[in-house]
């Protein structure tokens, strides 16, 4: 709990957890009975403590000049840590790097994975299931082992200390999201809607862009958001590729944790969570719209 690495992980998970929470809260309306409401209430309180508790701790730290164990509250307040972070030249570069690299990762991941997702959804080919499950391989084992092997490969291919190297490492963490979720979204597009478009005179490419892709969009958007967050938070692999010139926000945090008091790390982790939260809020409307089921024969 005291190591900043842990807190960073919690901060990163927060938007995702919040998404799940609001889904549950919406369903509570149908769950009418009193005991049900109490149960939901306890659950919500539990979730709030678990999600907001660490955040609160973090926020307090970011403004505390010092806060040691027996005290329930910091002795005095300061903006010094914020100054430290903002005056640090490396921070601006790290933010810039993160905001350039993460969208690139999502873009390339989409280019690689979406055609695969479509193929998984629409065609039945040799060893389809094996490939589909095989995508989990990168997530099934401790990442460090994978990265260590990757490093030797990167040395051989001269990818160490390059942006391309970082992008490849980060794409690895997004593949499962970018394939499984869009595959489910593509599979959920009723074939008759595609056939109706073909019958109306649309070429196969037109059908894909006007109907299939358009209807799978909410799912693809979810995948893109998840991939962005995964790429944005990726630190281990990026750190290992060790692009000295290309620090991203999470790797920059390693340096801060090592060189400054933990308050600085607290400030930085709050900054780190801002893009995720903004992205979640922006995407929420489109994802929650439920447009997919609307107007089709699902009632």
């Amino acid at each position: 709990m005291t190591t900043t690495d842990d807190t960073a992980a919690i901060v990163a998970q927060e938007p995702r957890a919040r998404l799940g929470q609001s889904v549950r809260m919406r369903s509570s309306g149908a769950f009418g009975s009193v005991s049900g409401k109490v149960l939901i209430g306890v659950f919500v309180a539990f979730m709030v403590i678990f999600i907001l508790g660490p955040l609160l701790w973090l926020a307090v730290h970011a403004f505390a000049s010092s806060w040691t164990f027996p005290n329930l509250w910091p002795n005095s307040w300061t903006l010094r840590w914020w100054q430290t972070v903002f005056s640090d030249h490396a921070l601006g570069v790290a933010v810039q790097n993160s905001l350039v690299i993460s969208p690139l990762v999502v873009l390339f991941s989409a280019i690689i994975c979406l055609p695969a997702a479509y193929a998984f959804a629409r065609f039945d080919f040799f060893a389809r299931r094996t490939f589909l499950v095989g995508l989990f391989a990168t997530n099934a084992f401790p990442k460090m082992g994978l990265f260590a092997t990757l490093a030797s490969l990167f040395y051989a291919l001269n990818l160490m200390n390059t942006v391309v190297g970082i992008i490849i490492v980060q794409i690895l963490g997004t593949i499962v999201f970018m394939t499984w979720i869009p595959a489910a979204a593509f599979a959920a597009v009723p074939r008759s809607l595609e056939e109706a478009a073909r019958d109306a005179g649309a070429s196969r490419i037109r059908v894909f862009f006007s109907i299939t892709l358009r209807m799978a969009m909410p799912g693809i958007l979810v995948a893109a958001v998840m991939s962005f967050l995964a790429a944005f938070d990726e630190a281990q692999g990026t750190y290992l590729v060790r692009a000295r010139e290309y620090f991203t926000m999470p790797t920059e945090m390693y340096t801060l944790v090592l060189n400054y008091p933990k308050q600085v790390a607290a400030v930085f982790s709050i900054l780190l969570s801002i893009p995720s939260v903004v992205l979640m809020l922006a995407a929420r409307k489109h994802i929650m719209g439920g447009q997919l089921a609307e107007g089709f024969q699902i009632r």
Partner: protein, 365 residues
């Protein structure tokens, strides 16, 4: 390959059949099972034809081959005198209304209907006008800006119809168009469809498993069974003169009795006797050709009653309107007309009973 098709195309265009649909010796095997077996079908221009049959008879497969979603293993499909067998769905002059309507949920009603015209790159004012006209035809102009999710099932169905009609197709295809509607609406919508079809004079093929629906809208019905057409006739002809036992049981209700038939009664024999319930007459006192009968069961059917009459030779279903004899009461039942089937084929339709030919046929039983 394409040259070969072009030549067939040319010869077909010169043929006598100008409009309509022509299917010749169509075959389709799916998963090792013969779905369509040497099917031939001609639909005249402006005619409404139903493909009627139980599920698995191949009617939907046939429709999908006509629409171009499936390609036949052999055989040809010609629409409006042009061979379209090698063309994909997007290049065929037919338009289809899907069973689940298949409206695009992310487009408004207007955009759904306009989509086929947009693909044809028509000028905007023309699209606007044609879509408005067709929406007016199906009475949905007021829902122009609604999303498919915001309108009722019947309205969605009409949007789907409008989307097909706006293309001014040579051939309109409807796949179980009414199966997702409730019973009341079904009757109204099928009348609407028939009315619009006749007004536009558009060649139409409907796939249905509902004989009522087929009987009430079609010019002709093709009754399908096991990938073949059992009989292709007008609704009245199918009912009066079913060529096979399958058609006789599928269209309307029939008393199906094994044996033979002589002088108004069932006798021993190896044939199947089919008697329509309306050809069984019940009376309190004996008439010529009648036999004593007891009322075994009564099922109210609204404006008439379905009554099971037990006679010495068989139990017969009859329709009685007006006063119904009480359960268990005795009376007399006469069979006015019976059809005889041998090996599933009709050998005597009972219509010419009084003629010498008919009498001869009956003696076989």
């Amino acid at each position: 390959m394409s040259a070969e098709i072009a030549s067939t195309d040319g010869s077909r265009a010169a043929g006598p059949q100008a409009g309509g649909l022509q299917i010749t010796v169509l075959n389709k095997v799916l998963g090792g099972r013969t779905i369509i077996d040497d099917l031939n079908l001609t639909v005249n221009e402006g005619e409404l034809v139903s493909l009627l049959g139980p599920s698995g008879c191949g009617k939907t497969t046939t429709l999908r081959m006509i629409a171009g979603f499936l390609s036949p293993d052999s055989g040809t499909i010609a629409v409006a005198g042009r061979d379209v067998t090698a063309l994909g769905a997007e290049r065929r002059p037919s338009a289809m209304v899907f069973q689940n309507y298949a409206l695009w949920p992310h487009m408004t009603v207007f955009k759904n209907v306009a989509f086929p015209l947009k693909l044809r790159k028509l000028p905007k004012p023309e699209i606007e006008e044609r879509v408005s006209n067709v929406l007016e035809l199906v009475n949905l102009l007021h829902h122009k800006h609604s999303r498919p999710g915001q309108i009722s099932g019947g309205e969605q169905q009409r949007v789907a119809l409008a989307r097909a009609l706006v293309q001014e197709p040579d051939l309109l295809l409807l796949d179980e168009p009414l199966s997702n509607l409730d019973a009341k609406l079904r009757v109204k919508v099928r009348e609407d469809i028939r009315e619009i079809q006749q007004r536009l004079g558009i060649t139409t093929v409907i796939v249905t498993h509902d004989q009522d629906e087929a009987m009430s809208v079609s010019d002709r019905i093709a009754v399908m069974n096991g990938g073949k057409i059992e009989q292709y006739s007008t609704p009245a002809e199918l009912y009066e003169h079913p060529r096979t036992m399958f058609v006789a049981t599928f269209i309307g209700t029939i008393n199906r009795i094994e044996g033979g038939y002589r002088d108004g009664r069932i006798v021993d024999g190896g044939d199947i006797v089919g008697i329509r319930p309306e050809d069984v007459h019940f009376s309190a006192s004996p008439v010529a050709g009648s036999m004593p009968a007891t009322v075994e069961r009564i099922i109210p059917r609204g404006h008439f009653h379905e009554v099971f009459l037990q006679r010495e030779d068989a139990t017969l279903r009859a329709y009685i309107s007006g006063d119904v004899p009480p359960l268990g009461s005795a009376g007399h039942a006469r069979v006015a007309k019976a059809m005889i089937f041998r090996d599933g084929q009709l050998v005597d339709d009972g219509a010419r009973r009084t003629s010498s030919v008919g009498t001869d046929a009956v003696t076989h039983g």
